[in-house]
């Protein structure tokens, strides 16, 4: 299959009062249609920056992103984002949150009846149809994230960008959400880029794991193909030697080759917005 999403030699430099801060250096990645990619790396390595560049929320200093033969110049619904802390609008119900996206993307293609069905279909897909008229503060963290995913899926994006979608959830909810996501992925076969800190999550969900080196000037360190057959079952995989081998490869990369140096260097003493975000993700 040919390249669907081409992240081509991206440099990202943030100007700071103390001079330029190079967050990313020559990040190069080619993604095929329908592929599930995980970006993994230590906090502050610029994973979120890569995602934001693909989303169009940041403009790369050098290089660029080409999606489906179109140059990415700004944010758009064809690159839907599932934000880390769900970012649902708290004054709208789950249904209305999805509706806002659907109305914006499909108001010319669908009539109101079709839109309603499409919204309900997407909420059903994430098993939120029972609580679709509840507001975000009335539902749990996992449910909020489900609605966030439904909102992104409802845009029918060419690529789905997920910024640590399950980072803020407890382990059990997280496992449940991962299973849900695999189930949805089997059905929709979206092209997905997901950021994660969780090695198990990366191996379980991905077709390829992109491991990033530590910042500053972070870049793609290694890429690991995950050839485990689908559908995958977490309990069976736990005793699968291939799974464990993949898992240890990622762990080795993170904890041997890219061991996080604990000494605080001057640049890390003034964390960029990116780093602040990541550090809160870990907590």
């Amino acid at each position: 299959m040919s390249t669907f999403l081409n992240i081509s030699k991206i440099d990202m430099v943030f100007p700071t009062p103390k001079g330029d801060f190079t967050a990313l250096k020559e990040v190069d990645l080619k993604i095929k249609q329908g592929e599930f990619i995980s970006l993994i790396g230590h906090s502050g390595c610029g994973k979120s920056t890569v995602l934001n560049v693909v989303a169009g929320l940041y403009q790369a200093t050098k290089g660029g992103v080409v999606l489906n033969n179109k140059h990415v110049l700004g944010p758009g619904p064809e690159r839907a984002v599932v934000f880390q802390n769900h970012s649902l609008l708290p004054w709208l119900t789950a249904y209305e949150n999805v509706e806002l996206a659907v109305k914006q993307v499909f108001s010319k293609k669908m009539n109101s009846k079709e839109m309603q069905e499409w919204i309900e279909h997407n909420l059903k897909l994430v098993h939120m149809d029972h609580a679709m008229h509840k507001r975000p503060d009335e539902i749990s963290g996992g449910m909020k994230q489900r609605v966030g995913i439904a909102r992104a899926l409802a845009m029918q994006p060419e690529v789905l960008l997920m910024d640590e979608p399950f980072g803020a959830l407890d382990a059990l909810t997280r496992a449940h959400m991962q299973d849900s996501l695999m189930e949805i992925q089997d059905e929709l076969k979206n092209t997905v880029i997901m950021i994660t800190h969780d090695v198990d999550e990366a191996v379980l969900l991905s077709d390829r794991i992109v491991m990033m080196t530590n910042g500053p000037a972070a870049t793609v360190g290694e890429i690991l193909e995950v050839t485990l057959p689908r559908p995958r079952d977490r309990i069976q995989l736990a005793s699968d030697p291939h799974y464990n081998e993949l898992r240890s490869k990622v762990l080795k990369f993170l904890y041997e080759k890219q061991r996080k140096v604990e000494v605080i260097s001057p640049q890390q003493a003034t964390p960029t917005k990116e780093e602040k975000q990541s550090s809160s993700e870990v907590a």
Binding site: A55, L57, F83, P90, A101, Q104, V105, M155
Partner: protein, 329 residues
Amino acid sequence: MTSLTEKLQPGKVNLPSWLSKQLNHLGKVIMPLIGIICFLFIWSLSASNIDTSLGKFPGPSAVVTQLGNLHQEHMDERSKEQAFYVRQDKRNADRVAKDPNYVAKIRSYTGKETFYQQIGTSLITVLSGFLLAAIVAIPLGIAIGLSKSLNSAINPMIQIFKPVSPLAWLPLVTMVVSAVYISDDPMFAKSFVNSMVTVTLCCLWPMVIQTSVGVASLNSDWLNVSRVLRLPAFTHVQKIVLPATVPAIFTGMRSALGIAWMVLIAAEMLAQNPGLGKFVWDEFQNGSSQSLSRIMSAVFVIGLIGFLLDRGMLVLQRTLSWDKTSASL
């Protein structure tokens, strides 16, 4: 002996949970009650020691009596008014009976304004001034919050006008209103427009500032949602900015309404515009032995109304705002 003290110490006795809950509940009532009783005690004690040229400073009982008087005066005035209309109707009916071509003249009653009417006038004025300010301030605040350059352009003016006392605005407003607001049959009395505009000028700024700060400190995730969806500018304001700013708008409105009420009383006193402020000033000028207790009654009523206005805003905020946590007491 020891056993008795042990029994009296509440910490050592395990009270049943319903009882301690009741005591807790009672504490919420008892403590304010104790506070009020102490206040009344100190007030009446010090009042009886203050001699003014208008007699002793009014204590609590004088104020209570006076509130009764004010109510009685209102009722008397109402019955006078009714009697006037009855007389007028009868007179007109008689004239028409004598001369069928006679066109009856209806005059409205022009007795002096009672305390209740002054309260009514003040409330209408403060709410009109406040609404006018809100209509200007909220869109202006949103515009300033959205645009950094507009903010830097307008901010100096806001900072300069914000601390200006209503008493400084009033002469200007009075002169401008009498020069500009000319009409043979004015819909509103000039004095009403004066007070209202002064109130507007003073409570505009906190609302503008709070609204613009609310817009400028919008959650960046919500902005990103809007950007990813490529919401057009108008939809962005309508669907994201405005609802997100509602809590901040209400905060601004609450503090503005408090300011508006304080400003209004001062404006009414100084400009002799009808209302509670004029009532206070008239009583002061009147200088009878009743005056101080009547002023003191007005002080309590003013305070009570200010409190009720604030609570009213709070109830409104609780009903309308999605963010219930920001609508706490």
